[in-house]
């Protein structure tokens, strides 16, 4: 488990301004997470409903003639939240508003070995 967390932290450090990464199930229950520092851990300790509602919102937005979508990107005043719907998991990135969103989206490929290992586990 420590290896997984370390891998997630290494991934976190690849993008400047990226504060946190959460890997959760579709109900928003966190399986694995990594924070850039203690402050991020304190600030972005989200409830499970926050994570899962991104997924629900994505599904509902698909009905607005937008079609089935995979990624939701929300910009707030100081932060941005990028959520990617990977098979069986939700990957949520919390970053500074000025962080490079393209680089964050590129981390999906970097996280693929980690997600592959997680998929090998028979989660309920």
């Amino acid at each position: 488990m420590e290896d997984l967390r370390r891998y997630l932290e290494q991934t976190l450090n690849k993008v400047e301004g990226l504060y946190s990464i959460f890997i959760s199930d579709f109900d928003g229950v966190v399986i694995l997470k990594a924070h850039a520092n203690k402050s991020s851990e304190h600030n972005f300790n989200f409830k499970h409903s926050f994570l899962s509602e991104f997924n629900s919102a994505s599904e509902q937005a698909g009905k607005l003639e937008l079609g089935k979508n995979k990624t939701v990107i929300c910009f707030y005043t100081n932060n941005q939240v990028v959520q990617i719907n990977c098979p069986r998991f939700l990957v949520t990135f919390v970053a500074a508003e000025k962080a490079n969103t393209g680089n964050i989206l590129g981390l999906e490929k970097v996280l693929e070995p980690l997600l592959k290992d997680l998929r090998a586990i028979q989660f309920p």
Binding site: L4, Y7, K14, I31, L32, Q60, K63, P113, I121
Partner: protein, 166 residues
């Protein structure tokens, strides 16, 4: 008979042009060319079967429910207790995870990169990092400043002619 022929000819000549016989208001009932065909197995006077009607209604309901944007459904229905239980379960499962993919990737990352250039996240952070200076840095800087001062004060003092006539 002659009048009839004359009318027919006129109709051919001015077909598509407004005439006194042309309707100002287009009757949709007259213009509707699609013919509603009655199914062959339909018997006049008989009502559709109840099960068919129910199936049709169900289909309509399903279609509406899949198309409607239900804001109430956005809220997660699992309670905090279940979240804690599930997190504990995940943690227990993660302890025995086979790390084939991550381990291979970590090993490949540990190998020396083939390229000298590598991706440095936040180069300005690296460039502005405070270097570990030696303890005698201040002494070295004092000596360097003294040397610079002495160099700047160096001058050639005239004592006599360099070229002397014999």
């Amino acid at each position: 008979m002659g009048a009839c022929c004359s009318w027919c000819k006129e109709d051919d000549t001015y077909s598509g042009v407004d005439q006194e016989r042309t309707h100002l208001l287009i009757d949709p009932a007259c213009n509707n060319t699609s013919i509603q065909r009655v199914p062959e197995d339909y018997h006049y006077g008989s009502l559709p079967k109840e099960s068919e009607e129910q199936a049709g209604l169900n289909r309509i309901l399903e279609e509406i429910s899949s198309n409607v944007i239900d804001v109430g459904a956005l809220h997660s229905c699992i309670d905090q207790q279940e979240v804690i239980e599930r997190q504990n379960l995940y943690t227990a499962k993660l302890q025995i995870v086979p790390l084939s993919s991550v381990a291979n990737t970590v090993v490949s990352l540990r190998q020396n990169p083939a390229c000298i250039l590598k991706d440095v996240p936040g180069p300005e952070r690296v460039l502005s990092k405070n270097l570990g200076l030696p303890e005698n840095y201040r002494g070295i800087m004092a000596h360097v400043n003294e040397i610079q001062r002495l160099l700047s004060s160096m001058s050639v003092e005239h004592k006599g002619d360099l070229v002397v006539q014999f």
